[in-house]
Amino acid sequence: MKCRIFGLDFKNPVFIASGTFEYGLTYKRVSNRVGAVITKGITARPRIGNPPPRIIETPCGLINSVGLENPGVEVFCQEILPKMRKLKTRVFVNVAGFTVEDFIRIVEAIGDRADGLELNVSCPNVEAGGVAFGRDPEICAEVVKQVKKRTKLPVIVKLTANFCDPLVVGRRCIEAGADGLSLINTLHAMAFDVKGTKVLIQGGLSGPAIRPFALFCVHRLKELGVPVIGIGGIMSGRDAYEFLLAGAAAVEVGSATLRDPYAPLKIIKELKQYTGWGHDAG
């Protein structure tokens, strides 16, 4: 199931999505067999994350509000990235900036020590930047332009579909030089505590509940003719194949690892039955 995307070879088109597998170091047997591991969102400065509750189960999925907990780019580059490089997989760093300067700072700190970058312009769980940032095609294009000036690595933009058209934002990102797009990030969601009448959680919805919508968004970007990575509630090889049919060059598995850390292996095995060997994309 080898595939070639943005000029890089991947052992298969099943990647691990940002935020649901830490840094791929806990379950190395899984990390070593997937096409790529995308890190948890890395910010310019350390972030302690949001107060609990951070996860609430909803029908066929969950709402999370982890709030980009991470040690910041410096500690990440010193302590975590070298360990990740020992994994037998491609490492993509999810870059989570709140300003254009943040993105530049993180990207410069990473240098060429990763295989690629996924620009997170769409996290719904942070106040500044985040998803509002990701709705504005011009700001996103500016981020891409500035990042591309400073790196030779392939740059993917992770798009949101919250109150905006990912096709519009995606097109501008590609015009600005992005090598590919990944979508969708989690959808705005909330839940109430009916005993106490207060808001229980406000965050991002993921899981099979969002899959049909994610498929629609991926399919919508087909006309751009660039590598698109499909994300959204993939639980099986069949689900992954659906995204490939919709035009995705690869997929990212997220929430499924919360139910079963070995889910990506199962998905790869099942996907082989659909695609046969030698999947060629992009």
Binding site: T26, E57, C60, N64, T257, R259, P261
Partner: protein, 248 residues
């Protein structure tokens, strides 16, 4: 971590809404406080696994005690002996209890992990006392099993035929000088009250929460502990009671 597809070898109702499930699972070496992530079913409803602490593990027999608190645990309660369940684990930090005279403080279903702790201490010839409180006296679980292992066991109920008392009010009257360490598991309100008591010995809380992955991946089960967020699933579930900030 290993995924186990296991048959329920035995199922017993312990109270009207707490049941125990037994599985045969050889070759694991669980620590007190560790738990399994139980897959409720193969569909996506409910989506997440349910964390259930180990109540007993002896001669390859694993006992999990579950209280029905919502949809997922209700579905689990309908499983019958002979049916297969998928269990992931054991998860949780490897907590090694001190081999000193201990006090176990249990509230309600909090008894479940403390039963396994009691077995663990007994097997290591560590003497302990038990203080076990419930709301109504028909809610006791493993009362005799753990009572027999304890040097001294005190049972209290907030309502019922016995003297009306809570774990916390009983503790206030107890002489705690002889204990080197205390372990507590129970409702959050009980843990908060215990924290306010400023127990004279080091005290550990067996924490519980709704978990995402249960194995440190999702950072969903954050708890404010000694000034930073920790993950209950891998940094706990056993944490120093005094270090927990319940207000965050």
């Amino acid at each position: 971590m290993v995924a186990h597809k296991l048959k329920i070898s035995k199922k017993v109702w312990l109270t009207k809404n707490v049941f125990g499930m037994e599985f045969i699972l050889p070759r694991i070496r669980p620590y007190p406080g560790q738990f399994f992530q139980v897959r409720v079913n193969e569909g996506f409803e409910p989506f997440l696994n349910r964390p259930v602490s180990i109540a007993s593990y002896k001669s390859s027999r694993l006992l999990l005690a579950v209280k029905i608190v919502g949809r997922g645990t209700k579905m689990l309660s309908m499983k019958k002996p002979g049916e297969q369940l998928e269990l992931l684990g054991p998860f949780g930090g490897k907590f090694k209890p001190a081999r000193k005279r201990s006090l176990l403080i249990a509230g309600g279903i909090g008894m479940a992990p403390l039963r396994f702790l009691a077995e663990y201490l007994s097997a290591r010839k560590t003497v302990f006392d038990l203080l076990y409180g419930v709301r109504a006296s028909d809610e006791f679980v493993f009362r005799n099993k753990v009572g027999r292992m304890a040097d001294r066991a005190i049972f209290v109920a907030e309502r019922g035929y016995q003297k009306k008392e809570t774990v916390v009010s009983r503790l206030r009257r107890m002489d705690l000088a002889g204990y080197a360490v205390a372990y507590a598991c129970g409702p959050r309100t009980m843990l908060i009250e215990l924290q306010k008591l400023n127990l004279p010995m080091p005290a550990y809380a067996f924490c519980e929460d709704f978990l995402g992955c249960g194995c440190g991946l999702c950072m969903g089960c954050a708890i404010m502990y000694k000034g930073s967020y920790r993950r209950i699933c891998v940094d706990g579930p056993v944490l120093e009671l005094g270090g927990i900030d319940f207000e965050v």
